[in-house]
Amino acid sequence: MPETINEPVSVTLWSNHKTRKVLPYGLYWHGRQYHITTIGLHHTVWEGRRLFHIFSVSDGSTFFKLVMDSETLGWTLVEVETIH
């Protein structure tokens, strides 16, 4: 089961104007940098008129659930799970 984190984090984005895709590429958390290699799923959730982009991603050995608040453009690391 993933561990709930709910901490603000820094994220670098990959943006491609041709495919119109914006994907998280690097994650900085607790002084470490994680290089994201797989985007499992990108989905969105509305809370009222506020849109949140949810990225389920992995660096190959750790799963991260990242949420971007489209109003503040801030990122939150919601969940983490590591291969045992």
């Binding site: 089961m1 491609n16 495919t19 895709k21 969105t44 009222g48 389920s56």
Partner: protein, 430 residues
């Protein structure tokens, strides 16, 4: 008349182990691992979907989590995450809509397409369209998501075909292979043939799918004691039984007949327990908002309960004037609930029917009624702006059990329309 001789143009598309597969798509670490999505992750939770790795170990939909873990000790169990499943449903619909406008969304994981007279079928065969769809799903939605496609002259046989090979199946049923297909099946493998209909068929001497297929329409009408027998004959012989064209048409808002919400309680509560009333309040608020958002009020209200002893109770009534506010719905349902048997409630469901197009912009003669309506609209507007339940009844303060977002079986109402999208290339970030 024999089996429908036309070339098949109906395709049933079914996402394999939908919830589990989507969770594995989202989290690559779960791929290849026995896992399941359950209504609740605790031992008593009901498994809603099991991954194919878990299915190989005997884990099935409908089992309790405890039973699943006995079969697969390392079973990973996750709670449902409906927004993920809805987005995949919408993405799948987007892919299928590029082939035909005639699509019926049967449920969160099943869609039926009619490709007759479409440009797609001019360019590609049905089988090649199915292959292309499977490929596009991998590229555009997710590489772990697979679908089983069934192709047949009618919807019913297309559904049967989609269930014959899983996961990632592609089966066509035509007049040439219908006998071979049915030879490998049991009567109860047919959707719609369970205990009752199976008993009727056996009583008429029809013991196997092949005998079912070979029976005449008159024999089947006799077996089912109704015109249903003729409908079964049509289905099995590749003809539509009349429901097809209606269902391929898009639902209009005028087709909406009722709004309802239900909730299964982790801990059963007595009908006079204030914690049950808190659940009732939430259900009423969710139902009321959906009703008002679609521009309706309702004359009819109903409530049903399932008890811990597996018995059920249900009542409904029609009011003289339409109900609009949550407070009115709550009062009506709370009163109805007092007539329920005094037993612990396991399932609580509320609904409203006899819908009436809301004309409440017209002021009521009673100022109090106008104030209630204005207050309800203001509360809806606040929730639309800031999210569900940011403003709520005082009854919901300190709630222990929250009514979670769930996917209903067999229905996908309320999903957003898909904006037209250009096809984009899949891109790797590595």
């Amino acid at each position: 008349m024999d089996f429908n001789p036309i070339a098949p143009t109906t395709m049933h598309v079914d996402i394999n182990s939908c919830f589990a597969t989507i969770e594995q798509q989202a989290n690559p670490l779960l791929r290849g691992v026995p896992m399941a999505v359950a209504a609740y992750v605790k031992d008593y939770g009901c498994i809603l979907a099991a991954s194919y790795e878990a299915k190989k170990l005997g884990v099935k939909t409908g089992m309790r989590v405890r039973e699943g873990k006995m079969l697969a000790p390392h079973l990973v169990v996750l709670p449902p995450d409906p927004p993920k499943y809805r987005i995949v449903n919408r993405q799948l619909l987007g892919v299928l809509q590029s082939y035909t406008a005639h699509i019926s969304v049967e449920s969160i994981d099943e869609m039926v397409m009619n490709l007759a007279n479409t440009p797609a079928l001019e360019k590609l065969s049905m089988v090649n369209i199915a292959r292309e769809i499977k490929n596009r799903i991998r590229l555009e939605i997710g590489e772990w998501i697979t679908v089983s496609c069934g192709i047949a002259p009618n919807r019913y046989l297309a559904k049967i075909a989609s269930g014959l090979i899983k996961p990632d199946g592609l089966v066509t049923i035509t007049k040439d292979n219908i006998l071979d297909t049915f030879a490998g099946m049991q009567l109860t493998d047919f959707c719609g043939i369970k205990e009752g209909n199976s008993r009727r068929l056996r009583a008429a001497g029809i013991m196997t799918p092949l005998a079912f297929y070979r029976a005449s329409a008159i024999e089947l009408k006799r077996a089912f004691h109704s015109v249903m027998g003729y409908h079964w004959w049509l289905r099995l012989h590749g003809y539509e039984d009349g429901g097809m064209y209606k269902e391929f048409e898009k639902d209009t808002e005028e087709d909406q007949k009722s709004f309802g919400q239900s909730y299964v309680l982790g801990t059963p509560r007595a009908t006079n327990d204030s914690r049950l009333w808190q659940i009732l309040t939430q259900l009423v608020m969710k139902m009321g908002r959906r009703l008002r958002a679609d521009g309706f009020a309702a004359y009819g209200v109903g409530i049903s309960t399932g008890f811990a002893d597996h018995t059920h109770w249900h009542t409904q009534e029609k009011k003289l004037s339409p109900l609009f506010t949550d407070a009115d719905f709550y009062t009506a349902m709370r009163t109805m609930l007092t007539h329920a048997p005094e037993k612990p409630v396991k399932l609580l469901a509320v609904y409203c029917y006899a819908l009436h197009r809301d004309t409440s912009q017209q002021a009521s003669l009673f100022p109090e009624e106008n104030r209630k309506r204005d207050l309800t609209r203001a509360m809806d507007a606040i929730q639309n702006r800031f999210g569900d339940f940011v403003i709520h009844s005082g009854r919901m303060v300190n709630m222990e059990q929250k009514v979670l977002d769930r996917i209903s079986f067999g229905g996908v109402q309320g999903l957003p329309d898909i904006p037209f999208q250009e096809t984009v290339e899949h891109e790797s970030v590595s």
